[in-house]
Amino acid sequence: MDFDDTPEEAAFRAEVRAWLEANAERLAPGESNEGIAETRGRPGTIQRAKAWQAKKADAGWACITWPKEYGGRGATAIQSVIWNQEESRYRTPSNIFGIGQGMLGPTIMVHGTDEQKRRYLRPMLRGEEIWCQLFSEPGAGSDLAGLRTSAVRDGDHWVVNGQKIWTTGAQYCDWGMIVTRTDPDALKHKGITYFIVDMKAPGIEIRPIKQINGTSGFNEVFFTDVRVPDTNRVGGINEGWSGAITTLMNERASIGGGGGGPDFSALVRLAKETDWNGRPAFEDPSVRQRLARFYIRSKGLQYTTYRTLTALSRGTTPGPEGSIGKLVGAPLRQEMAGFAVDLQGSAGAVLDAPAAPQEGAWQHSYLASPGLRLAGGTDEILRNIIAERILHLPPDVRADKGVRFRDIPTGPRE
């Protein structure tokens, strides 16, 4: 039992590090890159991201897990982890390509036509074109297959009408991948077709969603008679659900547990600096119990990641076990933030610097954290995944099974 690389991993890490050292600036200790949430909307963000991606692509360090035929290097999962660890030590632009490169590209590789692979994968890898995912709808979230955005055949085109929601980056994307309803008379999962859509096409309207913390990381996308050529269909007509599953499986592999925000060390600092009746709150037994619980949980999660990495290092592929990270990490962030605000007593209600300690980081974290428990699979969906795919418990009894999509209830009936 140790935390060391295998000789092969160490050699790979050295190779990665040598290239990064020659091509990027190392971050100072304790410094970290800003995430897309901070840099979004700032001038130059997209140009910087595209320039860095092109540089990586020229040297063969873009999308390293992709097969060689599509421009990758066929790297293993553990090599991908090593690359990400090393890249995060250098000053690099926010990654705006993850949804395309991590989820949609692999879907096209499995379900796309040869022409689609030729046309789209190379520019996606080089960061020349940016992609978004058009899945969720106002009436179809956890129950994605309940989607109602329609696509109707019109000669060699399809006409799309409806609304998508929670679309990251729609405002700057070139292409999107959309799941649509093409046969409402079929069973729920049998009438869905998957398309590539030009995000600059006429009839598409994009509106930012204002979140409860005041920022806008996502969009609503409205489709009004948007024409999509049949050559942009991914997979068979009414067979789009299997493509959507491929995309979602890759999403699970790429979504982490963290989510940014202040960490445990900041909480300890706050507890030491906050005065409770003349003593640091850190000395209060109730505070100590909560702090210890947070520490043990976050460490348990970190060591669970080590176990996952160990499995990857031995050649396994990432599985549903990754669900634990988000199911534990997201509520933990929310609880820590709530506790940190409570530590400040009535002053905790103040949102911003300079009155709120640590520049109001905990108040902001409290307002941001509910989203972590919803995005990329809610806590409840993650529990279902653990129960059904890891523990092999029976699936839920479903009211929509064997029913034509058109006849599935969508709300209370008189």
């Binding site: 963290g258 060591y303 080590y306 418990l393």
Partner: protein
């Protein structure tokens, strides 16, 4: 990254599991629970013949000379089987205390007996409810005579030798006392888990030796408790995992409203949550095992995390076990209460999870906050490079 047990250690696990499945079904635990016997002599004899108790004791003292990772593997399997034997008292506590604090002569005198299983050891600290730290120890070691009383000593009724916290001439001390000698009175105490016995000990000038220095007894005791906590965490983990497996199986086979109760989301989500708690406890226990086997200073906090996490996970598993079995789970004849009792007993013997959490914060408080920064995906080896 190699944060797992080796193939050899996994082979040892398989061997241990096979032996215990054959020789320690839950009926062995139940037999002790329902009788006056303090432990299962038959199972203890079998384990001793296999030499598991000698695993981490160096060969120079009659042991097998393996490490604590091997001992952790065995501990987890013993925990799975709810073994009714004095393994933990003798090995995690007494043998570790000798290894941490004993002189060469003391190790040579005591460890071979513990390694061969001919003698049983234990550790005694608490003198009253709530006592956890070094304060308020009234037992005295004065000119090689021990006087005072300890309560709820695990296997105190059958052990031959005990390591006892006491007040010495210059402060706290550890005392090594022969429980079969003069001046020792044992009062058997009813246990919340009668498959594991307890006794109150009274020392009336019992002959005893100083174990370690005079004045640093409590820091030695803490080192012993840290080591025992990691090993005990594996026993607790094994118990939690077994309780979980039995419960999962039961909910799959129990039908209500025309379907297995395991198909109800109320049940599925509880089992998913329990699975997550056990996995977190497992990860914390692994880290403790790494720190223990490498003698790394991280053990001071890793032991607290392993212990609190495992205590909570086993207690939760045992409570969920009864709840998800429903009424039948509350009967004497079904095995749920064996787990419920054992979880609470193991959660108590080295001090409660709350007490270990307080110890954790005390130790973290001595570090700079910067040392607590999160490194979510990074391995220590990657971080240091």
């Amino acid at each position: 990254m190699n944060f797992d047990f080796s193939d050899e250690q996994k082979f040892l696990r398989r061997t241990a599991r096979e032996y215990l499945e054959a020789h320690a079904p839950l009926s062995v635990c139940r037999t002790v629970l329902e009788s006056e016997a303090p432990y299962s002599e038959g199972l203890w004899k079998g384990v001793v013949e296999l030499g598991w108790q000698a695993t981490a004791i160096p060969e120079a003292y009659g042991g097998a000379g393996f490490g604590h990772l091997e001992l952790a593997v065995i501990a987890e399997e013993l925990g799975r089987a709810l073994v009714p034997i004095p393994f933990s008292s003798s090995i995690y506590l007494a043998a570790e205390a000798l290894l941490v604090a004993g002189t060469e002569q003391q190790k040579k005198a005591v460890l071979p007996g513990l390694a061969s299983g001919e003698r049983i050891g234990t550790f005694a600290h608490a003198e009253r409810p709530g006592q956890h730290g070094p304060e308020g120890v009234e037992t005295e070691l004065d000119r090689a005579k021990l006087t005072g009383a300890k309560m709820a000593v695990p296997d105190g009724d059958i052990a031959h030798v005990a390591v006892v916290t006491a007040a010495g001439e210059h402060g706290s001390v550890l005392a090594l006392v022969d429980l079969t000698g003069p001046g020792v009175e044992r009062i058997s105490a009813p246990s919340i888990d009668p498959s594991r016995s307890l006794a109150h000990l009274r020392f009336n000038g019992a002959p005893a030796q100083l174990l370690g220095g005079d004045g640093n007894g409590w820091s030695l005791a803490e080192r012993v408790l840290d080591r025992a906590a990691v090993l005990m965490a594996f026993e607790q983990l094994g118990g939690a995992q077994r309780a979980f497996e039995i419960t999962r199986e039961y909910t799959l086979n129990r039908y209500a409203f025309g379907r297995p109760v395991a198909s109800f989301q109320a049940i599925k989500h509880r089992l998913a949550d329990l699975y997550v708690e056990i996995e977190l406890a497992r990860s914390n226990a692994y880290y403790g095992a790494w720190a223990l086997s490498h003698d790394n200073p991280e053990l001071a906090t890793a032991a607290c995390g392993a212990r609190a996490s495992a205590s909570d996970a086993f207690e939760l598993a045992s409570k969920e076990m009864i709840q998800l079995h429903g009424g039948i789970g509350y009967t004497w004849e079904v095995d749920c209460h064996l787990f419920y009792r054992r979880a609470k007993l193991l959660g108590a013997v080295l001090g409660s999870a709350d007490q270990w959490r307080d110890r954790l914060i005390q130790r973290l408080g001595q570090r700079s906050p910067d040392a607590l920064r999160e490194t979510p995906v990074e391995s220590p080896s990657a971080a240091k490079a």
